[in-house]
């Protein structure tokens, strides 16, 4: 898909930059992050593609992505990024852009009895912190 400079949604990029100080503009599309990501097979766009879409201000497409709802904030991408970009922070910015509009991604009443019984407290605290408003 050809992208012209007119298609770049700058206000979306500004919002990402407000939430995350990480500089997505420095990304050189090497793909190290994708290679390190333990959950990439469950994503629709790889971490590198997410960076690419944000660099080109493609809010419509990136806002539909599942990738940052699959990201486990494990920081494997970041510690191997040759440009030292805090990719997990960019993923968090994408989550927060949606969550701050009160759109929860997990619902406590939909958890299975097995999950409720077996999961440790930190799973609930961290899951709700990252995936609900």
């Amino acid at each position: 898909m050809p992208i012209s400079s007119r298609d770049i949604d700058k206000s979306f990029q500004n919002k990402v930059e407000e939430i995350a100080s990480a500089d997505f503009r420095r990304c050189m599309q090497c793909g190290q992050c994708t290679g390190m990501c333990p959950v990439v097979e469950q994503m629709d766009f790889t971490p590198r593609q997410i960076m690419h879409l944000i660099q080109f201000g493609q809010f419509e497409r990136v806002s539909q992505a599942r990738s940052y709802w699959t990201c486990a904030a494990c920081h494997s991408c970041m510690v191997n990024c040759p440009r030292d970009i805090d990719i997990p922070q960019v993923m968090e910015a994408m989550r927060l852009l949606v969550l701050r509009d009160n759109e929860d991604q997990v619902h406590p009443n939909k958890l299975s009895p097995e999950q409720l019984r077996e999961m440790p407290q930190i799973a609930f605290v961290s899951g709700f912190r990252k995936l609900t408003a």
């Binding site: 959950v39 469950q42 904030a73 997990v106 407290q121 930190i122 799973a123 605290v125 899951g127 995936l131």
Partner: protein, 291 residues
């Protein structure tokens, strides 16, 4: 150095096997510490947003409690608590403006000065006790027990809070050698178990946890050791689902490293609380190796 212990929410409930074995081991090693009697949940995950400080209040309040007890350092057992407290500490030490905002916001509390050191129990064993002293305290070395260290994420990433190099971690292997076990090198020792995606995308957690187990098995491990209740859930409690999904993966015991410590120090097995482990609930693989 005056030491405080910060338990965190899971240590008093689902992870009593981690807490009871660790504290009994520490007492046996003659390390003095106080347990904080006032603490709150640290938030379990570090907030990555730069425009929002509210999630730093919880970890910082705990560091103020440490300061009030006039302790120089605080240690945690849970990897996630370690990461959350340590990263908040780094943030306010690097950013005076953030510290000022947080101190002003918590006007009912004494100001946090930034001087508390946040440690994980493994760091404490390495830097305060020392591997040599630990070795000489071992009464029942875990001879021939092949164990895969499982670091996960929170102990080793990102760099400012890493307790051992994240690409070539060694601290857990050093611990295993000190207690007489045989560390097994697996390429997925530093792979994430899927963490809180156990809630959001359980399939993703199952897949990456399966990979960790498969690699450990290929490397010849008889058991996994870890330090995080989140890893324990994904790799231990969810193991039956993993074994069912991937037929090449066999059941493997999962222990907290502190249980190996307690057994090697010759402590009574009841401090290990193997009943809380999963899938193996009797600790037999571990206790059989202790001679």
């Amino acid at each position: 150095m005056k030491l405080a212990y910060y338990p965190g929410c899971t240590l008093k409930t689902k992870a009593r096997n981690l807490e009871e074995s660790a504290l009994a081991g520490l007492r046996e090693l003659g390390v003095e510490f106080i347990e904080l009697d006032q603490w709150n949940c640290c938030g379990a995950v570090y907030s990555l947003a730069t425009d929002d400080l509210i999630h730093q209040v919880a970890p910082l309040r705990n560091l103020i409690r440490v300061q009030q007890e006039e302790c120089d350092a605080v240690f945690t057992l849970c990897s996630q608590c370690y990461n959350t407290l340590a990263r908040a500490n780094v943030r306010v030490n690097e950013n005076a403006e953030d510290l000022k905002t947080l101190n002003t916001f918590m006007d009912e509390e004494p100001d946090y000065g930034g001087s508390v050191t946040v440690m994980h129990f493994l760091t404490l064993l390495r830097d305060v006790v020392g591997w040599d002293k630990l070795k000489s305290a071992v009464k029942k070395p875990l001879k021939g027990l092949k164990v895969a260290p499982t670091y996960g994420c929170s102990l080793i990433r990102p760099d400012p809070v890493a307790i051992t190099p994240n690409n070539t971690p060694v601290i857990m292997a050093e611990f295993l050698e000190a207690v007489g076990a045989e560390p097994v090198q697996s390429p997925d020792s530093n792979t994430c178990c899927g963490s809180f995606q156990a809630l959001g995308n359980p399939d993703a957690a199952l897949e990456t946890s399966g990979r960790i187990l498969r690699s450990a098995q290929k490397a010849g491990a008889q058991a996994l050791v870890l330090s995080c209740p989140m890893c324990d859930y994904n790799l231990g409690r969810r193991q039956p689902a993993i074994v069912e999904k991937y037929e090449e993966i066999n059941e493997m015991p999962v222990y907290y490293f502190t249980q190996l410590l307690a057994v090697a120090l010759g402590l009574e097995a009841d401090v290990c609380r193997f009943d809380l482990n999963s899938p193996e609930k009797d600790g037999n693989t571990l206790t059989a190796a202790a001679v």
